[in-house]
Symmetry: D2
Subunit: 354 residues, 4 copies
């Protein structure tokens, strides 16, 4: 095979990826491989150090020609921006040092998503390693924090369920249209959301051809959604959040319920107005039914707002690809903003459907 795909120049933004063997890591590599303005300088993995990235992920053959390396702080400090595609609790160990060296940092895990340290420690079951930088972290949902993200050095990339849920509820909450004391978010995710770690429950023979709820008693994305919606409404919403596992690989559909408390509102117009200038939020026409396949592989959130039977319960449908708009794509969007690149660079591919 001829290598016709190399495009890296010398004035590129220099990127480091810590933890490149999980699904968010390989998805970052997939997106960055066609990004015109960046160069991936290193991809670290303790477990796979020395092995070529494309050997583990043959889809990257000819696109990514680097080997995994042991995390090397000196090398990472030479990067313009470092992505942490690591488990919770990892980025917070190294972020302060990189930030001190002037490196921009985006954490795709949860270390910097919750501002309240005590709340974070309660839900994540560990002591936070760098509460002192938590205040500087910007929650990386561009539809809310675009300008802060542009100036941020540390961005907490949102969780997948929170992205779909927040974008779906946001216009209603901002405009005081629904009763925020009893929101229901019934969310469904493909199995890639569970990560690439070996485990029995995500074996195909266990989760294929079956459907279940999980985390009903409490899921870590609950406080995250509550915090962000709370800021949008100045208060703390009452939210019941039930995640489900769908026998498919990619995609989240959030079905959101809220009781209408403000009459006479043109709901469709509210949504279209709120997201008019957003490149990655697509408010679909009235009556639409988003399907996860229509956003598969793309950095889009497709939303539809319904009011069944003209009753007082609203139903919002919000669909994303959990690995793209719910993780790596949104991280690249944040990177573009932080590095002054065109906002949609590297993110214009069309969803793969069917």
């Amino acid at each position: 095979m001829a290598t016709l795909f190399s495009r890296y120049g010398t004035s590129m933004v220099k990127i480091g990826i810590v933890g490149g063997t999980g699904y968010t890591g390989v998805e970052l590599l997939r997106i960055l491989a066609n990004h015109p303005d960046v160069e991936v300088a290193c991809v670290t993995s303790r477990g796979e150090a020395g092995r070529n990235v494309a050997e583990l992920f043959p889809s990257l053959r000819g696109f990514v020609d680097v080997a995994f390396t042991e995390p090397d702080p000196a090398l990472l400090r030479t990067c313009d921006l470092v992505f942490f595609a690591t488990p919770n609790g990892t980025a917070m160990q190294s972020a302060p040092e990189l930030l001190a060296a002037g490196v921009k940092v985006i954490d795709l895990a949860a270390d910097f998503r919750i501002s309240d340290v005590a709340l974070w420690e309660q839900w994540y079951g560990m002591t936070h390693a760098c509460p002192q930088v938590l205040g500087d972290a910007v929650y990386g949902l561009p539809e809310i924090n675009r300008e802060s993200i542009r100036k941020a050095q540390l961005v907490a990339n949102p969780g997948c369920y929170p992205t779909a849920t927040i974008l779906g509820f946001l216009p209603l909450v901002e405009e005081g249209i629904i009763d925020t004391s009893a929101l229901v978010a019934d969310c469904k995710s493909g199995v890639s959301g569970a990560g690439r770690g070996a485990s029995v429950p995500t074996l195909m023979a266990e989760c294929g051809e079956s459907f279940k709820a999980y985390g009903v008693a409490g899921h870590r994305h609950l406080p995250e959604i509550r915090q962000v919606l709370g800021r949008a409404m100045s208060g703390e919403p009452g939210l019941t959040f039930v995640p489900h596992l769908v026998p498919m690989i990619r995609g989240i559909l959030a079905t959101l319920y809220g009781r209408l408390v403000k009459e006479g509102v043109d709901l469709q117009a509210v949504y279209e107005e709120r997201y008019r200038d957003e490149p990655f939020v697509d408010v679909m026409p009235p009556g639409s039914l988003p399907e996860t396949r229509y956003v598969r592989g793309s950095n889009r959130c497709q939303i539809a707002i319904h009011r069944p039977g003209d009753g007082d319960t609203l139903v919002v449908l919000s669909a994303i690809d959990n690995l793209v708009k719910g993780a790596a794509g949104q991280a690249v969007h944040n990177m573009n903003l932080m590095c002054g690149l065109p906002e949609t660079a590297g993110l214009t591919s069309v969803a793969l459907s069917p």
Copy 2:
């Protein structure tokens, strides 16, 4: 292959199946093939008349040795009981004549599910052919109507979503534990629920690896659920019902939400007590998370009741196999009751998992 499976005797209950080419029809045949007390006298199909049933459904080779026949009223009248596994609007054409001939009738479609003729005609878009027998039809949910079913000549077999939803909500509604003005039923079904007709949306390339809601504006199972829950509470519940399509073949999970209005109730005990004598409703231990695979191929409803974060929103999870407890299995249960057979006859097979 030796035919070691024939078991038909002469004192058997004689069964007719009208419309044997759809999924509920073939599922009836699967269950009845191992039922000790019945004989399938005829399986009708206009489209496949003359063709051997096992040629169309090779899983039945050696078990079912009859050919599809044109519907023959004379032959059907000689049956003890006739199942209609036909599209909506078919059974009502023939039922009165069979009933007049003393034949018992179970309709697996919707012709006799709604008592209010006008309401039925509004949702099903046709004129009801026999409103005069509607009053005699018993809604075939044995957990509510066991004794009426035993005496009934005409049974309306419940819809799949209603079965899962009603069994899940029932104890709460009967005991006045939740606010029935704003129930939410977020339901998810495998694709066999859409039937065996050729259609683009249920092609594997369309609905595989994807997830979507449908029927948000209004689904025919909504008035059915409302009617049955309404009778249990003496009133009309406010219900938002959103069905979703899961990329799997069999199974329904209903995730049900209601606001607690009665404190100090032992919810687990309420459910266990309500279903203590029910052979086909399994109230799982506290904290359980039903999965559709655990009821695949079996006539069971597995239910778990949750109260997340000790808040005032209850979450009930209710899982069935849509083709068994949601259709053919429940129909056989009804047949057993109507014909005085042991209630669980033919219905004791274990779910196929994995």
Copy 3:
């Protein structure tokens, strides 16, 4: 839920299952739960000892009311028959002691499948623990060894691929119809064949929506197939065996190729004659195309023989459920034979399709 399913009496065959947490173990429990003549006395698991079996496998709730126990040789010795549903290399550690105590043993793994100790040790990478009993082990394919199985105390239950492949090739090899120097077996299996152990390659996000070959350089079922076909032809066949992983849970389809060397044979008649008295081999009509769903959950092998374009390459299609006819179902068949029970007892359920 009422417990309406208990059927255990006192004159039952007493069964022990060693290793009940894998897919073949739970499948044995599923089948035995409806077997009229056996009682499961114990199910062992080192990892899950003390936990109720139905807690791990909720599909068995109400059917199997025992807890996993540590393997207890004294208790196992009181059984009439012990199944080993364990990894390779386990049964051979305990079998001699049980055999000495008069217990019948069926190993669902590979410890006793290969008569040639050196060959076994080469393919399985360990020293055989009891070569002295290997000579007494009968290869448990009833279609070849029915009478030996009836008298056997130790049965080696065949591998899943070998079952489908051998039954497919057997009539051709026995009758000298094809050139046995260059057989090709292109086999495809669902993921349950890989077992219930946590591993990255069988995660749904890895093997779902994808297809691959594996084990091309050499798979352990190759010497097993060669041995059995070799006995049928008095010689050693030349066989290329390539297994593939299908994104589904259950089922094997073997597509078998061989060059015709004997003209004028009625191939269909040869197959029908060979399997005329077999309850679990279904030779389908000419032109048939077996599908794995038609044998899902049933103990059947469906076979079709083709001669495309009247050329000299024959194509045999052979379908089984890898967990039933390819494992637990065949083991129960062997148990029935060894214990003098009706041959099809517990094995008459119809395939679950769709």
Copy 4:
């Protein structure tokens, strides 16, 4: 949603697509939406004329802003190049007129794939409408016919199975390494290969969780493969071709068998040498096992060559995405060649994996 994706200029190649509602049509639109050098002037569909393309395919919202139109010969004649993404038998009705008008034509169906008119008519069951232009049609497999394609006005885009099979066998056949009298191609395809027409066999409830062979008696891709391999070897190969249906949406894996007749050849080197300059054929390292997911959505064929047990049967594994390298991607590759565009333009996206 802001429309940030429009890129169409005035010096673009002007494209017409006839038949834009099938999977190859929408896949063309997906690929062309990010192609830097083309403008889609019209997309025709008799059934959907007047409807916006993105309404039917919401993945294209914001990328493709045209409505389906009735086929209009006058408009099509103004295009530089017209793709026919239509059923077999359609392109041949209109191609001569377009060719006469100087328009370039690529047929993604089979009308121009077989040079022998009689053979074509026998396999496709219709009279060929324009045998006079058949001689000018170039078989659009760039790895064989690159230079002819550059000069061609009419290109027959290869079938999906032929693409995977021919690329896999080609080096062995060209170099006389295998016995071409008895080739076996055991091929497996995802269900999108069956098209977007409503049909029972491709319903998810029919083909999900199951595996089968089809077309064993004879499939239209057989004469196509024979013709192309025959030209590479100067003769007619003996080929047994058995296609199978995999329960997934995209992807083909061809497992190819041939007997070695030339010793001492470095097989890996032969493949690497043959495809050294090919941008879309990736010869993987020795021992590799291609998986269809590694080419999902990309225009690549990944190939591995094996010689199991150092025997005399070679096994070649060849993986493509049937809708990309097997259809629309290859068509765009051909378009690039025919229009003098950079060969890989629009085709550099990385496979979507997981």
